[in-house]
Structure formats: structure tokens, C-alpha cells
Symmetry: C2
């Protein structure tokens, strides 16, 4: 892969932003949005590039505009565990702790709407609509993390893979209710990291699900399901 510098882009208006109503700025009034607009800038990365390294001073907070980013933690001997899979409108950053606790990597081509840290934290103090939305989003992340813990701690390999696929299907069908296909934004390696498995086991389980007629493949990234409900049943949704 050719390594290109992250590029700074022009500044579209917030009013036209595709994730305006779901991001951290969702509740902001027009005048509040203007203040955010003053400290924001856009930046893009190619799939595979690292956005933040562990321990880096994070001098920004950001919203994903396009693409998909992963948050990954490491053990000393190199074992890795993904701890966040962030999609458009999701927030990246940790007000109060500028040291990055995990690596942020662009899983696909990625565009972030970034806010300089200090001014952003100041705005959080001054704009309740901002901190309120921030709290909502943190609590949602926490709920997701807890669901994820059940997957990691108690589900079988097959259930894990089925759970990930259903979750990706759910996020992929952007208002296209009928579409039960998706292009995976993750490599097998990223899926393994998400699931607490090895690449080989992920591959075997995907093959198994295909042989059982629960999914169909189209290349290694394209995937679809003829029976979404059945796939959900395999995923053993929490009671």
C-alpha cells in the first residue's frame, strides 16, 4: 500500500453534514453549531493507516463522517483485542484523559471531523447540549461494551461470528430494510480481533455458516444472508 500523508480538506458546512443529527453535535442549536464550526477541521486516512498510537497525546476529539475505525488494546507479548468498532457519527476521543489508551486504526478509508481538544473541552463546559449528548453517547457505548463482554466471555466461536455478522448487517442496512447484504468493513484479522478468536477459526466458522446455508459469500468481503432471523438465532441473542 502506498503511504500517503493524511490530507486536510475543505470545510463543508455543518448544516449539510450527513450525520449532523446523530453525532455529538446532534442537539446543538444553530448558534452553538457555529462555535463548533470554528474549531473543526476535516482529515482523511486510507484503510490500514493508524490514526492514533497507544500513549499518544490526543490533541483532538473527533466524529466519524465516513468510513470505519477500530480501537485496539495490546498485551505486552503482542496479543491484541479490539475494544471499539466505530462507525459514522460515532465519537472518538476521551475528554479528561489526553493519553490514548488504545490504538485507533482506519479499518476502511476514513474521514474524521476533528475538534481541537482544549477548545472542545471548553465548549463542553459552556454548551450543555454538547455535554448532554456526550453523556448519552457514552452510555450507549457502555451498553454496547457490556453486550460485547457477553460475547467474549460466553459465546462459542460460531455464535461469535454470527453475532458480529448480524451486528454488521444491522448497521449496514441504512434504511434499506430489504437489503440483507453488506460489504464487510473488516478483514478476517480484524474480525478475529473483535471476537477474541484466531483468523483460522473465523474463516472456518464463516465457511461453516455458508455450508449451512445461513450466509452467502461474494468475494471475501461481500456477504449476504437469505434468512436474517435464522442467523440471529445462531447468534444466541441475550435474553
Amino acid at each position: 500500500m502506498s503511504v500517503r500523508q493524511p490530507s486536510l480538506l475543505a470545510l463543508p458546512e455543518c448544516a449539510n453534514c450527513p450525520i449532523r443529527h446523530r453525532a455529538v453535535c446532534a442537539r446543538c442549536e444553530d448558534d452553538e453549531l457555529k462555535r463548533l464550526e470554528e474549531i473543526k477541521y476535516y482529515r482523511s486516512w486510507q484503510a490500514g493507516q493508524t490514526v492514533v498510537f497507544v500513549g499518544d497525546e490526543m490533541d483532538f476529539a473527533a466524529t466519524i463522517v465516513k468510513g470505519c475505525a477500530t480501537l485496539t488494546k495490546y498485551l505486552e507479548d503482542g496479543r491484541t483485542q479490539m475494544v471499539g468498532l466505530m462507525m459514522p457519527s460515532d465519537f472518538i476521543g476521551r475528554p479528561g484523559k489526553p493519553q490514548a489508551q488504545f490504538e485507533v486504526v482506519a479499518a476502511t478509508d476514513l474521514m474524521l471531523c476533528m475538534y481541537r481538544r482544549t477548545p472542545f473541552e471548553k465548549l463542553m463546559q459552556e454548551i450543555p447540549h454538547l455535554s448532554q449528548r456526550m453523556l448519552e453517547m457514552s452510555l450507549d457505548e457502555l451498553d454496547a461494551a457490556r453486550e460485547w463482554m457477553v460475547l467474549l466471555g460466553r459465546k462459542t466461536a460460531r455464535e461469535k461470528v454470527a453475532s458480529l455478522l448480524t451486528s454488521l448487517f444491522r448497521r449496514a442496512r441504512l434504511d434499506a430494510e430489504t437489503e440483507i447484504r453488506a460489504d464487510l468493513p473488516l478483514t478476517r484479522e480484524a474480525m478475529a480481533s473483535y471476537l477474541g478468536l484466531t483468523i483460522e477459526t473465523v474463516s472456518r466458522q464463516i465457511t461453516g455458516l455458508r455450508k449451512d446455508g445461513l450466509i452467502t459469500l461474494n468475494g471475501s468481503r461481500g456477504i449476504a444472508t437469505p434468512d436474517f432471523a435464522a442467523l440471529c438465532r445462531v447468534a444466541e441473542k441475550a435474553a
Copy 2:
């Protein structure tokens, strides 16, 4: 165990509260504290009693004053995974989602400082000190959940048990730096639920750590370590 009704207790003053400076009310001014005091009440449970069942309408939020509570999620076939281990000053409740997503159980005898839900959510709107602290605590919970995900997804049984013990030691030495002993607030079953293991494996690993001289036991609940640093090394702390 004799089942006794949870008891309602008298209302001590917030000013004398042992966890006043660490709980959700930590940043409140005196006048703000008074408003909280108006909607609060105390309630106690015995070890083993369930505080909230999955799906229950939670008409309160609460702070743990004394004791220890667990948050547990279930799969349909009965598999369980603990997703929260809450200690004094920790917050229990989910503003915005009154339906309980998990079961809350008193791991030890437990006392909660409880706030009625609707008035509490109103105060969160009106007292920035409250919602700000709430955000801080949620982000800390999220950090802890992500560390926990690494444990569940990638650590070996031995590392898992060592990690839990070091974490409990850390929380137990309440300003008593020199004390490297603790009474476990958890049964083997609760430990297994925390770690994504079976009771038997937990027991075997504890025996193993004892035989290796990393810990000493005193009954099944009392535990100490002659070399905390060594135990941490076994726990394979994340880089």
C-alpha cells in the same frame, strides 16, 4: 439464607457521607447537595439478594454506600456473564433507559443511597455539576469495560484470576498502602462469572497460584499476597 425484606433506613446527612467526594454528587455545592438530599433515601440488602431483575422498570438511580453489587447479563440457555462489579461510590442506574439491561445482585451486604428516577433526571438537567460528574464516571466505566474485554478475549485462565485478584487488592487497600491482604467480596461462582470461566477452573487456578507462592489463603474468602508485583506480572498487564 433467610429472606428479609429490604429495609428503609433513616437519612444521614450528605455532609457526613463516607463517599461524598467520590460519588456522583462529588462536585455538588452545598445548595445543590440539599436538592439531592430531598429526593434521596437509603435501602439495604443482604448478600445474595437481587436488587433489580432484567427487564424491571428501574424507578431509581443509586450510589453504593457500603458493600458490593454485581451486574450480570444472561444468554437464553442460562449462561451468565458479569458485566459490572460495583463498589462504594459507584453509580447504579441508566438515565434515559428505565428498562434494566442486566440483573443487579448484592454480592455482599449492601447499602444504597437511592434517588427517585424522575426527580433525579430533572436535577441532572438543572445541575451541571451532577451531569458533568456523571459523564466522568461513565467514561471511567467505559475504560474499565474495555480493559475487561481484553481480559475476557485474550487472557489465559491464570492471567484472568491474577488480574481479578490484583484488581481486588487495589480496591481493597483503602489508603492502607502496606496491606496486601483482602477479604474477597466474591464467591468462586461470582469470580467465574466475572472472568468468563467455570468455577472449577477458578478454583484450580487459585490453588495453582497458592502452590507457586504468589498468594496465601485464609479460609476460602481471605486472601493475601507476599509479592504484589509478582502477581501483577502474572496478570500480564496491558502495555
